[in-house]
């Protein structure tokens, strides 16, 4: 709870403290490897085993295995490695990330993704807007800014590391795109749990939620991911419609406008994420939607979600939920 700056009154303070204490006691009973956390230069016991593999965050010194970062020791068979806590994002192949374009370079964009270096998205590793796969020409290169500009928010997938260690991204699907009409939130990457699904379409709010593994969270208006073929057909049918009725313009106008309702939903979801991350809880879709429902049931306005009372309520709720879960077990 370091760094939480809340203006709490006395009762709220007390309630929050009890809730957090409860959580702490729960976590210390559930996690049996709490003693496995190490700081830099701590020796990791290996029980004189042979053939120990020393993974990330470890090093050998005078025959001892020593941690080089703060974190939790993890063991897989004979591999020992340290999982860092509260560190920068460490990319893995296949991760979904959200990033901000910081530079348009020859044939590539550079993205800031909260990694120790900038990620590279090559022009060739993304689909062109027209959907045709072909060799990228000089014209394409000149038109790169029509796809992504500086400061655009983009979501993409980690493709792999080049031999020099630089990180490459890819965006070969319709769902990897420029993100607009929404909010970007930055939280600690460790709060985002790796799951099968990181793209979420919250139907009831008409909102897309992208939980980037790098701790960048996107909440924005829902955009229908379209296949090229479908687009073609739609355009065709629209053209037919247009020739019949001649009223496409209103339709287009509607598309560029976000309704107040959806804006409110976006803000509510974003605030839920903010609350969760300040309290240091895992950010998952289920929790986020739960918080939104909670705020509505408490008749809170959007801005009130960031008030002290709501924090306390959430903390208490979470403590209750976890104690229930441990009891069940």
């Amino acid at each position: 709870m370091r760094g939480v700056q809340l203006s709490l009154n006395k009762t709220q303070k007390l309630r929050l403290e009890t809730a957090l204490e409860k959580l702490e006691s729960l976590s210390s009973t559930t996690s049996n490897n709490s003693n496995a956390s190490v700081t830099v230069a701590d020796t990791i016991p290996i029980n004189y085993e042979d053939g120990v593999l020393k993974g990330h965050g470890t090093s050998e010194m005078d025959g001892r295995v020593v941690a080089t970062i703060c974190g939790v020791v993890e063991r897989v068979n004979k591999l020992v490695y340290v999982r860092a806590l509260r560190a920068r994002y460490k990319p893995e192949i296949g991760d979904i990330i959200v990033g901000r374009v910081i530079e348009v370079a020859p044939k590539r964009w550079r993205l800031e993704i909260n990694f120790s270096q900038d990620a590279v998205l090559m022009l060739s590793s993304m689909n062109l807007p027209d959907g045709i796969q072909r060799r990228r020409t000089a014209v394409d290169e000149l038109n790169m800014r029509s796809i992504f500009e500086e400061n655009d928010i983009v979501c993409a997938e980690v493709r792999g590391f080049q031999h020099d260690g630089s990180l490459y991204l890819q965006a070969r699907s319709q769902k990897y795109r420029k993100l607009d009409r929404g909010q970007l939130l930055r939280i600690s990457p460790y709060l985002v749990k790796r799951r099968k699904q990181h793209f979420h379409h919250l139907d009831q709010y008409g909102v897309d939620l992208i939980l980037g593994c790098n701790g960048f969270i996107w909440v924005g208006e829902h955009v229908e991911a379209k296949d090229d073929m479908v687009v073609d057909q739609m355009i065709k049918s629209e053209q037919e419609n247009a020739s019949l009725s001649g009223s496409v313009s209103s339709c287009e106008q509607e598309q560029s406008h976000t309704s107040v309702e959806i804006r409110q939903h976006i803000c509510r979801l974003a605030n839920a994420v903010r609350v969760l991350s300040t309290l240091g809880f895992m950010v998952t879709v289920e929790l986020i939607t739960e918080l939104v429902d909670l705020s509505i049931s408490h008749n809170l306005n959007i801005h009130e979600m960031l008030g002290a009372e709501f924090y306390v309520i959430v903390a208490e709720k979470e403590a209750e939920r976890r104690s229930l879960a441990t009891k069940k077990r």
């Binding site: 053939g51 020393k54 068979n77 192949i93 296949g94 060739s124 072909r134 997938e157 769902k175 099968k196």
Partner: protein
């Protein structure tokens, strides 16, 4: 595959490569135009379905150079035109060819499968072998260049050696060959030039004779290909590989065998293989027609030959299988869904396409069933089920009575028994028999035969016995000269013969014994015995032949027997009372009912297949494999790839699970680089080698560690219901080249390691090249877990094995 507008793939489908291409096509981004050169329309249809694109089919079976197919009978000396260039099959010359066939070792027609080929090529002493004669003839008639296909590497070399006397090139060409050969060999080191394979090859090549198979050094293979293209090799002995993927036609193609060993037996060459190989005959624009000669060394049916020579391409069957690597890579990426991949697989496609057919089949069968209308169906059905019961009870009783325990003492020579007739031609054999039995006129249809019955093999109780019985038989001879004997009723024409029958075919034993003549060889003696049988039969005609009473005579003491007999009696009563039994045409009606029942059963089974195929073909396997991954800790329960899974993702050229386990158990950590390389060689070597010597102790120890790991992995798979044979899986890791690879990593010269092992040079080189591939993947894997020491070790290993002849650059580059 990133920046392409059109993918052109030729011969997308051949053997193992199918798998690879198919996957590649599957994962291609869908808006890509594909142009595929295919042998099967189905695949085109499938890619159309997967990629949602129209599929234009351009189809041709036109050959610019027509083919003539000849037969060359072994031992004979001449060619017989069997199929002319217009594709007509010439029956008479086919027969002539077969007649010219000199059967080696006459009288002994049953040659064993494995040995048949030996006789042909050795030839009789002093005579030239067939292949020699053949090549000579081809050269004389100027049908060269010629490719002789055989189906094993050793045979290939052996045949080439027989050509030693022949010289097909003039001096100019010889000089030419020598320059080309040595300029190519220049890139080898001095030591490697001394390899026996290299030095032995040149004299052969200079005479215009070449050998081409996968066991050759890659560089030699390429030199030979080049020389062949230049027309400097007139006669090339090749394996099947030469027919695939290389555009190197000749004027003539010779098949030295008509059978091919396919892993467990020698089978005829399939028409698809024949097409592929004969397709090398006839150079476009040079030859007017291609000549294709099949060396025949045994009789074959015209239909077999026709099928082989004129058949169509093999139908394509999916060999798609799930690999863990594939699965992990799919799970890892957000929109990768293994289920999706499976849905698009060709196997699934084939299964899907079969469904409408099945539906149709089921429908027509149902119609057929419904068209059979019976009166009084209920009572008839009742009767039918009674019959079934009666029949099965009868069978039970007979089984008890005729169990060797009881009946053996009574199988004396001379006893009359009744035998069940097995009617081959009757569609419903069991049924008509039953019918008669139920009417209680057993003797009517089961004739009592005269017999001379020896229980030839007096083995212990439970062994099965056959009884030799003298009886009237009809003997048929079919074209192949095989005799089929069928037992016929006594009064029908036929010759008396002694046949062996299993005890189960005896229906009952009578108490009558005849005196039989000692010598049954002359026909008359047998005829006489049969006559006596008829006499006996007529003597007892009034009240039937006296039977051996099971309880009194044979001392059958069994409660189940008595119970069965009692129930039979009860059933017989029921039959008599059953009204429908009196109705005329009962037999036909029952037959109809039987057909109906059979149809119903068939419909049921078809429906079952339909149900199982509508489910995803690989679904169960997919589930099982995911279970394995979870159990071994490669993915979490909500399908997130764990660290181990990430390592396995990197490894695609070897068994990913075993190798990953091996790595995580630290086995690779403590051993020396050479030992590690040698251990990894087990993953890439697949050929089975007889009498390979065991590797030295320390390697042996490592190998057992590998086997243990493999066994553990296999067991987990088995527990998760993946279909796998544990021992088979474990023994798929071969230690045969460990020693050689160890030496290679130590820095030995190639000729030195060739002395250690008997494997073909080319095979070893391929193995080492694959090994390097695996090492590269392991480097990536080590990087992903952050183990820098191991990574450095793998890199070191790559440097150690990547040198000299093994990684000599290709001549084509």
């Amino acid at each position: 595959m990133r920046c392409i507008t059109c993918v052109t793939e030729k011969e997308v489908l051949y053997g193992k490569r199918v798998l690879l291409w198919l996957q590649r096509i599957l994962v291609l981004y869908f808006s890509l135009p594909l142009s595929l050169m295919l042998r099967s329309l189905q695949i085109g249809l499938q890619s159309m379905q997967v990629h949602q694109q129209p599929c234009h089919i351009v189809y041709t079976d036109y050959r610019p150079t027509p083919l003539q197919h000849y037969f060359f009978p072994s031992g004979g000396n001449g060619l017989y035109l069997v199929v002319d260039e217009k594709g007509k099959f010439r029956e008479n010359s086919f027969q002539k060819a077969l007649n010219a066939l000199v059967p080696p070792g006459e009288g002994d027609k049953k040659r064993e499968n494995g040995k048949w080929q030996k006789g042909l090529f050795v030839g009789k002493a002093g005579e030239d072998s067939d292949i020699f004669k053949m090549v000579k003839m081809i050269i004389q008639r100027q049908y060269d260049p010629v490719i002789c296909f055989s189906f094993s590497k050793r045979e290939c070399e052996f045949l080439a050696m027989q050509m030693a006397k022949m010289d097909l090139n003039n001096e100019d060409e010889k000089v030419n060959i020598e320059t080309i050969f040595w300029s190519a060999m220049d890139m080898l080191s001095e030591d490697d030039k001394k390899l026996p394979q290299v030095s032995n090859m040149l004299p052969l090549l200079k005479r215009g004779i070449g050998v081409h198979h996968s066991g050759l050094l890659p560089i030699l293979k390429e030199v030979i290909e080049i020389l062949f293209q230049e027309g400097l090799i007139k006669c090339l002995f090749a394996t099947e590989t030469f027919s695939i993927g290389l555009n190197m036609p000749a004027k003539t193609v010779v098949f030295t065998n008509v059978r091919k060993f396919d892993g467990d037996k020698f089978r005829w060459i399939s028409s698809g293989e024949y097409i592929q190989m004969s397709g090398r005959a006839g150079r476009r624009g040079i030859d007017e027609r291609g000549i294709c000669i099949l060396m025949v060394d045994e009789k074959l049916e015209p239909s077999t030959a026709k099928l082989m020579v004129k058949g169509s391409a093999d139908s394509l069957n999916s060999a798609f299988h799930l690999s863990y690597n594939m699965l992990l890579n799919q799970i890892r990426s957000e929109d990768g869904d293994p289920v999706n991949l499976l849905r698009n697989s060709f196997y699934q496609f084939q299964v899907d396409r079969a469904i409408p057919d099945l539906v149709k089949q089921a429908k027509s069968l149902e119609e057929e069933r419904d068209s059979i209308i019976l009166e009084e169906e209920d009572s008839l059905e009742n009767y039918y089920s009674l019959l079934q019961q009666f029949k099965s009870l009868k069978k039970d009783v007979r089984d008890i009575v005729l169990s060797p325990k009881y009946c053996l003492p009574f199988l004396q020579p001379g006893r009359l028994v009744s035998i069940q007739l097995i009617k081959v031609d009757d569609n419903l054999p069991s049924f008509s028999v039953k019918d008669d039995v139920t009417l209680g006129v057993i003797i009517n249809f089961e004739r009592i035969k005269g017999l001379s019955e020896d229980d030839t093999n007096k083995k212990p109780e439970d062994a099965s016995y056959t009884v030799d019985i003298l009886t009237r038989c009809a003997v048929h001879k079919d074209e192949a000269g095989k005799r089929t004997i069928s037992i016929v009723p006594l009064k029908d024409p036929g010759e008396p013969a002694v046949v062996s029958l299993p005890i189960s075919q005896i229906d009952s034993l009578s108490s009558v014994r005849l005196v039989i003549p000692k010598d049954l060889l002359p026909v008359e003696a047998r005829e006489n015995t049969l006559k006596k049988v008829s006499e006996v039969l007529s003597r007892f005609a009034k009240d039937g032949l006296p039977q051996l009473d099971p309880e009194d005579d044979m001392k059958v003491q069994s409660s189940s027997y008595r119970k069965a007999v009692r129930r039979i009696e009860a059933l017989e009563n029921l039959f008599e009372k059953h009204e429908i039994a009196k109705s005329p045409l009962i037999e036909q009606k029952l037959k109809l009912l039987h057909t109906k029942k059979q149809l119903t059963a068939k419909i049921k089974s078809i429906k079952r297949t339909m149900r199982s195929s509508t489910a995803l073909a690989f679904k169960d396997e997919l589930k099982a494999r995911k279970r394995v991954l979870r159990r071994l800790g490669y993915v979490t329960s909500d399908d997130v790839v764990e660290l181990k899974g990430k390592v396995a993702c990197e490894i695609s050229s070897a068994d990913e699970l075993t190798l990953t386990e091996l790595m995580f158990n630290g086995v690779l950590k403590d051993i020396k680089v050479e030992e590690m390389v040698s251990l990894l060689s087990c993953f890439v070597w697949q050929e089975k080698l007889q009498d390979a010597q065991k590797p030295r102790d320390e390697l042996e120890l490592l190998f057992t560690q590998l086997q243990d790991t493999a066994r553990r992995v296999a067991k987990v798979q088995l527990e998760c219901k993946v279909q796998i044979d544990v021992e088979n899986f474990v023994s798929s890791f071969r230690p045969d080249i460990m020693e050689a690879v160890f030496a290679w990593a130590k820095g030995s010269k190639f000729y030195e390691i060739m002395e250690i092992t008997q494997v073909f040079e080319g095979s070893l080189i391929r193995a080492i090249r694959r090994l390097e591939e695996v090492l590269q993947q392991l480097i990536q894997a080590a990087k992903s877990i952050g183990e820098t020491e191991l990574e450095a070790k793998f890199e070191d290993a790559v440097i150690k094995i990547k040198r000299d002849i093994v990684f000599a650059a290709s001549l084509y580059l």
